[in-house]
């Protein structure tokens, strides 16, 4: 096969350009595989039967956010979250939650403030050591989102409440099956009898609570 001088020049030029482009781009990186399909599925995978997941208190926590002095947002956390999550794939009870938070585990990274948060001005931890959320129904939304309704008990008062729950992931390893959720809801603390600072607008009435859960199949 004979190549004309024009064709040879064109092929050579193309080769040089390609080599140069690759050289300028740097080493070729392997494309990471996409996360396991469970992260993006629209339903809880493999749930033909009911599974009860026990909340891993080490890798679960609660956060709360409230407005301070009508200005900034103050964040605090609860370190001790426990309970169970039940999944069964479909129906109104596809996702059921029974979550308890130890109010004594409230933390704001300030010792004096923690003492105040534990006092009867706020959580009154000696009187009400736990706050609980027990679901009554759930509704599947788009993607990994769920709307879970239930009863929230804080400060000795129980009120119905709906939380937006995202299933953040599901995996299986040598440590067993794991599932993750993130629940977000807003509560009016005045309705639960925690009125300190509301009238004077020193501390906001509405508290946003985020509960991050990691649970293992029990």
């Amino acid at each position: 096969m004979h190549l004309s001088s024009k064709s040879f020049t064109a092929i050579t030029s193309l080769f040089v350009i390609t080599i140069s482009a690759v050289a300028l781009q740097g080493p070729v990186e392997k494309v990471a595989p996409t996360p396991t399909a469970t992260n993006s599925t629209t339903s809880i995978q493999g749930q033909t039967s009911e599974t009860t997941w026990k909340v891993d208190d080490t890798h679960s926590m609660g956060l709360f956010r409230v407005q301070h002095s009508g200005a900034g947002m103050f964040w605090g956390r609860f370190d001790d979250v426990s309970g169970t999550v039940t999944t069964n794939g479909s129906g109104a009870q596809a996702l059921a939650m029974n979550i308890a938070i130890d109010t004594n585990s409230v933390s704001s990274a300030n010792k004096d403030l923690d003492g105040h948060l534990r006092s009867p001005d706020f959580f009154s931890v000696k009187e009400f050591p736990t706050m609980t959320f027990i679901s009554t129904s759930s509704k599947k939304l788009d993607g990994n989102m769920w709307e879970v309704s239930g009863n929230l008990t804080v400060h000795g008062v129980t009120k119905p409440l709906t939380a937006n729950v995202e299933m953040t992931g599901q995996s299986e390893s040598v440590r067993g099956k794991k599932i993750g959720f993130e629940a977000v809801f807003t509560m009016d603390r005045g309705e639960f009898g925690m009125t300190y600072g509301i009238e004077k607008n020193a501390i906001g009435k509405n508290v946003r609570i985020i509960v991050a859960l990691e649970a293992g199949a029990s």
Binding site: N104, K111, D112, D114, G115, H116, L117, R118, S119, P120, D121, S124, V125, K126, E127, F128, H155, G156, V157, G193, T195, Y196, G197, E199, K200, N201, A202
Partner: protein, 286 residues
């Protein structure tokens, strides 16, 4: 916010308390009544507490409100005894019985044991008996002033433990007592006879210090040692310093000793609490 607390939680309840006390003193002049100083102080405590927390549903939540309610009951029953001449000599025994009943009714977390609450009632009743004997003997502005200083101890301890809702009403009662002592000082300076706090006042101060400290201890999550709470509850007993031989016979040294006794006990309790909290904080970050 601070102005609103000063007005609604301290100034207004104290004003009501002083008015109560004044009306009671007027009644003392015209009849056998022994005044309403107990009710005056208890009303200040209750009104100030109500400015902090709604009384609605106090039985199921905000159970610390049992403390001002119990104190008010003690005050009403003790002052009511003053209406009946026949039982006047028995007032102190009746007052002690009422304190024990009041302590038994208290709802303090982790104090479900009735015998523990009865022991608290007996201890506070004992303090009240001693206090009433001194209060009745020393009808002087210095007595009210000393008791005013003594109530600062449980108030500050409650504040240091993070329980502001309890600290403010206790502070309001201390403020009310301070105003009452000023009024008595003015009366004394005008050469009039000082009426003193009476049995009701003494009983209620002992109840507020004792039951208030117990409530603060029950709700405390900062682990302030119990003996510091006991010290703050016993601060009104500093009055007894003015009864020491050699001092008790002289008016001015005795008055100074009463004030010093209460101030010393209160300051020691507060200092111990601050030192304890600082030491526990430093050990936390070692």
């Amino acid at each position: 916010m601070e102005m609103e607390i000063l007005l609604y939680a301290i100034a207004l309840p104290s004003f009501v308390g002083v008015m109560f006390s004044y009306c009671g003193n007027l009644a003392r002049k015209i009849s056998v009544l022994t005044g309403f100083n107990g009710c005056a102080l208890a009303a200040t405590l209750l009104l100030s507490s109500m400015s902090q927390e709604s009384l609605i549903q106090f039985a199921s939540q905000n159970r610390w409100l049992w403390f001002p309610l119990t104190t008010f009951m003690i005050a009403v029953l003790t002052d009511a005894c003053g209406l009946f001449k026949k039982i006047m000599p028995l007032r102190i025994y009746i007052a002690c019985a009422v304190i024990i009943l009041g302590a038994a009714l208290l709802l303090i977390p982790s104090w479900d044991n009735l015998s523990r609450r009865l022991f608290l009632g007996v201890a506070v009743g004992g303090c009240a008996t001693v206090l009433v004997l001194v209060v009745e003997k020393r009808k002087c502005f210095s007595t009210s002033l000393a008791l005013s200083f003594s109530l600062i101890a449980p108030s500050v301890l409650a504040m240091l433990s993070g329980f502001a809702k309890l600290a403010i009403p206790l502070g309001a009662v201390a403020f009310c007592l301070g105003i009452i002592s000023l009024i008595e000082l003015v009366r004394q300076m005008r050469g009039r006879k000082c009426l003193g706090l009476g049995v009701g006042g003494g009983v209620v101060v002992a109840s507020i210090a004792g039951l208030g400290s117990a409530t603060g201890f029950g709700y405390d999550t900062t682990n302030i040692p119990i003996w510091i709470w006991v010290l703050s509850a016993a601060a009104p007993l500093g009055l007894c310093l003015g009864e020491f031989p050699g001092i008790c016979s002289r008016q001015i040294p005795s008055a100074c000793a009463r004030i010093c006794g209460c101030v010393i006990l209160a300051v020691v309790a507060i200092l111990m609490c601050v030192l304890f909290q600082n030491s526990s904080a430093s050990s936390l970050y070692k």
